[in-house]
């Protein structure tokens, strides 16, 4: 019989067995007859003019089918476009050629591609392509890049990508108010490397008979890839099919459409052979997007009672060498507009200067703008509390937007859907046993031990979104979602979604939505995604939008199925539609439970079509497109306890409490998993991860031997809890939870470490809080030599 309550149940992820057992099929697992392999020749220089490329040695190497440079792609592969052209910010969009033409602009910039019978032959031949470079000075540092005579793109003066601002109220006036203090701090939000477990890959196959081109690609949004690639390749969209098979993590790094994907697709047509490319981890570090990389001057104006009256933020954002697909939106609308956080701050000003440098392009990385904003805001809240001698919990509570003020419009102009921020804060403090922990901290200090308590109250904007609104921000698409729910004649259900989950568990949660609505067994529901041939449209999985937008579309499609099924059942049972009750997957006549039909019996009748209501089409499926009226705004409070070893500067995380509110919860197990992963990435930024270039633009953290991906053994058990405040934006009441952990955790941990260091009088240490940095902070505070 059908499960009675599956919405809200801790159902195990159906994705996991195949992932754990190694039977999942990733792009690099695609093997086709006649498959050949591509390898890219990449620049060893951050900035150089290409004088000449000699491919003769590579071309004559055994197994090589072809070697191609920018010249060979001329007129056949257009530059890669930027998909989010934020208006009113003087955005410069220099061309991003698929292979570098005259100049290379970062280490790893692709200058040529070799195709050979085997992968090893391709790599060997790639090492024989001789490129004559005239090495140019590189601009790596953002501040130096602005105003440097060295230009990454000759037509972009001062290397300035954009100058964006938002202003609500009047910060200056607020700061002049008598008694108001202005707290200032320079904050670095360091560059990170996304490190999806699966690196990028693409396989393209062209069928000369049908003229169809199929591309398997590591993408979070295959439909977007299809639209963009059809333009880049001048290939008719209806002949182009893009498939995202199993995708091993993305964290935003698989949103963009990359040059390699376009080149591989082009080569499959050109050579009339299927072509595979799978990047190495080193290539991944050099040519897949990076994230974050902000330098910020922040000012917070606060009254003596702790009321925050103003926030002014000036940020430099590093875009790297080219504009990646969504890059312009990340440090602007996804950053500046959320700077009010969960607080009522009447006067907010934010100015962002985007900068080109000779480094790997940046784009969305888990949280994408919102972690950066939350870091600024939550560090400033702590600094304000310290300035005023207030408890960090108290200053937050004083400024939170009260429950009764929703929907709440903040100074940056956006309107929060629903919230009960104080409740989440209270719950986190309760779990932490805040007064007790503060007592332990005081006692430990007596013994020369340095414990620190950190808090982070956050709100995020996700579930994008209303297409009209995102269109007005320059996004070159809509952000609605489509879904199909289809019964088969034997009563099984197939769900098609335009979203493209790659680890978030929607094959399970979407099945739960449908099983709940249609009263069928979870095992009878299959969820399919990631193929442009299978559904009308989809805008992808990112920005914690999949369940709020795509899940709602699935829910609405299921409603249509149910309505049609009810009409068929009423017809066959010879009663009116209103006389039927739907319970546990069965329609029965009100007051006569014996007279009924299961929904599976109805499905069979819908396909047989022997006895349908007059004028009804056969078959049983529902299709829905959902365009939300607003974004959704999850929120919560994270709290943690750390201990700092003052002799070595090492930080040990002792406890971590997370109270998140993502609206109604479909599957608590999956929500916990999403929160856990997010917290780990957030902690990792606070304590360990950083990408570093030398002055010449070489990536010093160029492998996992130098870039510190977090290890499970370094982390405490996470104490997760939730409050549940449904959103009115969608009928499911769901928000998003893919990024909350990353958003909240970073400032939470940094605040805790700085709290531990407060007896030394240390105000701030920039991330990551590596032992040496903490130790140096202590030495400087003590007036020591360091």
């Amino acid at each position: 019989m059908a499960v009675t309550q599956v919405f809200g149940a801790r159902v195990r992820r159906r994705e996991d067995p195949r992932l754990i057992r190694g039977t999942a099929m990733y792009t690099d697992d695609v093997v086709l007859p006649g498959l050949c392999y591509a390898a890219f020749v990449r620049s060893p220089h951050a900035h150089a003019r290409i004088r000449h490329i000699d491919v003769s040695r590579a071309r004559s190497t055994p197994g090589v089918l072809g070697v191609f440079t920018a010249q060979d792609l001329e007129g056949r592969v257009n530059p890669i476009p930027c998909g989010w052209q934020v208006p009113n910010c003087d955005l410069k969009i220099p061309p991003h050629p698929a292979l570098a033409r005259d100049k290379v602009r970062h280490v790893g910039d692709a200058v040529a591609v070799v195709v050979a019978e085997t992968r090893a032959q391709a790599y060997d031949a790639a090492s024989l392509v001789e490129v004559d470079y005239e090495v140019l000075p590189a601009v790596v540092d953002m501040q130096q890049a602005l105003g440097s005579a060295t230009l990454v793109h000759e037509d972009v003066p001062n290397n300035r990508v954009l100058l964006w601002s938002v202003k609500g109220g009047d910060f200056e006036a607020a700061a002049r108010e008598p008694g108001v203090r202005v707290i200032r701090q320079r904050l670095v939000n360091q560059r990170l490397i996304p490190n999806a477990m699966e690196a990028r890959a693409a396989v393209a196959q062209y069928n000369p008979g049908t003229g169809e081109l199929t591309l398997w690609v590591t993408s979070q949004n295959p439909h977007i890839a299809r639209v963009i690639l059809s333009g880049v390749l001048k290939f008719p969209e209806h002949k182009l099919r893009v498939i995202a098979p199993e995708v091993g993590g993305g964290f935003g790094s698989k949103i963009p459409v990359y040059p390699e994907e376009a080149v591989v697709a082009h080569l499959a047509v050109r050579l009339a052979r299927p072509v595979k490319w799978a990047e190495t981890r080193r290539e991944n570090y050099l040519s897949t997007i990076h994230g974050r990389d902000h330098l910020t001057e922040a000012e917070m104006a606060v009254r003596p009672d702790g009321t925050v009256v103003g926030l002014r933020v000036r940020t430099l954002a590093n875009f790297g060498a080219y504009l990646s697909t969504a890059a312009p939106a990340i440090p602007t609308i996804l950053y500046g507009l959320i700077l009010s956080g969960p607080y009522r701050i009447p006067n907010i000003e934010c100015e962002v200067t985007g900068v080109f440098t000779n480094t790997t392009p940046t784009d969305a990385y888990r949280g994408a703008g919102r972690p950066e904003a939350t870091y600024v805001l939550e560090r400033m809240m702590d600094l304000a509390a310290r300035e005023l001698g207030m408890d960090p919990a108290e200053i937050r509570r004083r400024n939170l937007i009260p429950r009764e003020q929703f929907p709440a419009t903040v100074a940056t102009g956006i309107t929060y859907d629903s919230g009960d921020y104080a409740r989440a804060l209270d719950r986190a403090l309760q779990i932490l046993e805040y007064p007790k922990v503060r007592g332990e901290q005081a006692a430990a200090r007596q013994q020369g031990r340095y414990l620190g308590v950190g808090l982070s109250t956050y709100v995020e904007i996700c579930g994008a979104g209303p297409s009209k609104v995102v269109g007005s921000t320059g996004f070159a698409g809509g952000l609605w979602e489509s879904a199909v729910v289809r019964f088969s004649p034997t009563g099984k259900v197939t769900v098609f979604t335009g979203t493209s989950p790659h680890g978030q568990g929607e094959e399970t949660t979407f099945a739960q939505i449908v099983a709940q609505e249609l009263g069928v067994s979870l095992d009878d529901v299959e969820v399919l995604h990631g193929d442009t041939d299978s559904i009308l449209m989809g805008w992808g999985t990112y920005g914690s939008r999949t369940t709020a937008v795509g899940g709602t579309a699935v829910y609405l499609a299921a409603q249509k199925v149910k309505e049609k099924a009810q009409r068929i059942a009423a017809h066959q049972l010879e009663v009116s539609v209103d006389d039927l009750v739907f319970e546990a997957g069965r329609f029965h006549v009100r007051g006569a439970p014996d007279r009924g039909m299961t929904i599976q019996e109805v499905a069979l009748q819908a396909y047989l079509a022997w006895n349908l209501p007059e004028g009804m089409e056969p078959g049983l499926e529902g299709q829905a497109n959902w365009d939300p009226s607003n974004f959704v705004f999850p929120f919560g409070t994270h709290a943690c306890v750390v201990e700092v070893d003052p002799e070595t500067g090492q930080v040990k995380l002792l406890r971590y409490v997370a109270v998140d509110d993502c609206g109604r919860v479909i599957n608590p197990l999956i929500v916990d998993g999403q929160v856990h992963g997010g917290i780990v990435q957030g902690i990792a930024q606070a304590l360990w991860e950083f990408a570093r270039y030398d002055e010449a633009g070489n990536l010093l953290t160029g492998s996992m031997a130098e870039y510190a991906v977090p290890k499970a053994a370094w982390l405490p058990r996470f104490e997760c809890d939730r409050t549940e405040t449904p959103t009115p934006v969608n009928p499911l009441g769901v928000k998003g939870v893919g990024e909350t952990g990353t958003i909240a955790a970073t400032p939470c941990v940094v605040n805790a470490v700085l709290d531990a260091l407060s007896p030394f009088g240390i105000r701030h240490v920039d991330m990551p809080l590596l032992p040496e940095r903490v130790w140096r902070g202590i030495q400087q505070a003590k007036g020591g030599a360091a």
């Binding site: 992968r119 090492s127 080193r282 002799e647 996992m704 031997a705 870039y707 991906v709 040496e772 140096r776």
Partner: protein, 288 residues
């Protein structure tokens, strides 16, 4: 991430390996666990034309006790060193050091001999074998010879092993009863190697230090003994103050290199802290 082309041959005896090394010289490389060599080859930083896989050579395996020492075959994995009851009983310092190498996968593949022959400046074993005064048994065309640990590490990635020699076994003197020991490290957050690792072996008699051996790895181009610290401890009545005083000498003249995660200055400071903490831990064990 894709190595340059190379030939590969499996050998079944040390003699066979030596003869191939003689034949191919520096174009050939010996392969044991491959945990240092293969990553370098994948980055094409190392491009040997011939890999000589020692895997099938049985004479390079096994751990046995002989004349007051453990004789440990070069192909013994880190995990075997870490978990062998014989090593844990007779040379607990070495077992504990091995247990702190990398992670489970690394310990299951990486070998004792391979690690010592590679002489990575941030490897863990070098500190332990220096403190234990181990002896390397090598074989070459001219026969066998023994090289003490103190002469083994020559420079960054360079040992006293000749180009046509094979490191076969390591002779590690068993720890005396009552000797205190410790291995403490600050791992590199990315690689798991030592940003700094300190091995201590202390002989105490009636509260007085008869002999102290302290070796540090990860700080400079090669692991070294801290002679000044050792001298300051020897003959002293060891209490916390004496240990702290002696440890202050740990950074003195210590050659240190900057890296992304720790500057030379910070490493010298850590050497002092970890030496003190390591010695105190060793003293606890000596007393216990």
């Amino acid at each position: 991430m894709i190595p340059a082309p190379f030939e590969y041959v499996r050998v079944h005896s040390v003699r066979e390996a030596i003869s191939l090394l003689q034949q191919h010289g520096s174009r050939a490389k010996l392969l044991a666990g491959g945990h240092s060599l293969l990553p370098l080859m994948k980055l094409r930083l190392s491009q040997p034309e011939l890999l000589i896989d020692l895997g099938p050579v049985d004479e390079l395996r096994g751990i046995r006790e002989e004349n007051g020492a453990l004789v440990i075959g070069a192909l013994t994995t880190h995990d075997e060193v870490a978990t062998s009851p014989l090593v844990r009983e007779r040379v607990p310092l070495l077992a504990d050091c091995a247990a702190q190498i990398g992670d489970v996968q690394v310990r299951n593949r990486g070998t004792f001999g391979g690690n010592l022959a590679h002489a990575d400046p941030a490897a863990d074993y070098p500190a332990a074998v220096l403190a234990l005064e181990a002896q390397m048994e090598v074989e070459g065309p001219a026969g066998r010879r023994t090289i003490p640990a103190s002469q083994w590490f020559v420079d960054l990635l360079t040992t006293a092993l000749g180009p046509d020699e094979v490191l076969c076994r390591v002779r590690v003197p068993v720890q005396a009863k009552g000797q205190g020991w410790s291995y403490t490290k600050l791992p590199h957050p990315a690689s798991g190697y030592s940003l700094l690792g300190v091995a201590c072996l202390v002989t105490v008699d009636g509260g007085v230090c008869r002999e102290a051996r302290v070796a540090v790895t990860g700080v400079g181009p090669k692991a070294v003994r801290l002679a000044k610290v050792e001298a300051a401890l020897t003959g002293k009545r060891l209490d916390e103050a004496a240990v702290a005083e002696a440890s202050k000498l740990a950074g003195d003249g210590l050659e240190a290199t900057d890296d992304l995660y720790a500057s030379a200055e910070y490493k010298r400071h850590l050497a002092v802290v970890y030496t003190r903490r390591g010695l105190l831990r060793a003293l606890e064990r000596a007393a216990g």
